[in-house]
């Protein structure tokens, strides 16, 4: 069964450093998402992406964040200058279409900023 994969599973970085979290969505999916979950809190939407453009973004997704689909398979989330409060589990998801269609989630990348 096709699945969403994410690398790395765990990333440790120092405050102020740039990080890139990588995702490989399911191959025939057209919509891509990033969510994050700070320890002990709810899963929060960050951004959705379709047709090489951001469709929607949350207030969390400020200028420090960017997303890219550099080729036909990868979908990346970049944090330019990490802060302690960026420490969280980051989930990538993909779906065939929007709305009622199931989003398939990856296993997540745990980002620890020290």
């Amino acid at each position: 069964e096709p699945e969403v994969t994410q690398t790395p599973s765990h990333q440790v970085t120092q405050m102020g450093q740039e990080v890139i979290l990588r995702c490989v969505p399911i191959s025939n999916h057209l919509y891509f998402y990033w969510y994050r979950q700070i320890l002990g809190q709810k899963v929060e939407f960050l951004v959705s992406f379709y047709n090489n453009e951001i469709s929607e973004k949350s207030e969390i997704f400020d200028d420090q964040f960017s997303v890219e689909r550099p080729d036909g398979s990868n979908f990346t989330l970049k944090i330019r200058s990490t802060k302690l409060e960026d420490s969280a589990m980051y989930f990538c998801a993909s779906s065939e279409r929007q709305g009622a269609y199931e989003q398939y989630f990856g296993p997540g990348t745990r980002l620890t900023v020290t």
Partner: protein, 112 residues
């Protein structure tokens, strides 16, 4: 704006007992409703979803949920749980944009 409240952070239950995980949502417009499950060290997996039609929705692993519009609830139930059902369960809503808004999650702890 939409919001989701899961009333119980933890639900302990004995194996083979029934369970209900509660979810209430707030929205001024029609939404789609979802339950996701997260097993340890894994991503979120869809259990079931309500889009329209019959208010009783059946999902995987013997779970079902009932949409109650008047009470704005979408509670998840299973008549007999197994040890393997131990996991984190998330209720979520979305509209046509696809953005999922999640509740805080409920940890289901099934004891032998």
């Amino acid at each position: 704006a939409q919001s989701v409240t899961q009333l119980d952070s933890q639900v302990p239950v004995f194996e083979e007992a029934p369970v209900e995980l509660r979810c209430n949502y707030s929205s001024s417009v029609s939404v789609y409703l979802f339950w996701y499950v997260q097993y340890p060290n894994q991503g979120l997996q869809l259990l079931l979803k309500y889009l329209s039609g019959s208010t009783l929705v059946k999902g995987i692993n013997g779970f079902e949920a009932e949409f109650n519009k008047s009470q704005t609830s979408f509670h998840l139930r299973k008549p007999s749980v197994h040890i393997s059902d131990t996991a984190e369960y998330f209720c979520a809503v979305s509209r046509n944009t696809g953005k999922l808004i999640f509740g805080q999650g409920t940890t289901l702890q099934v004891k032998p």
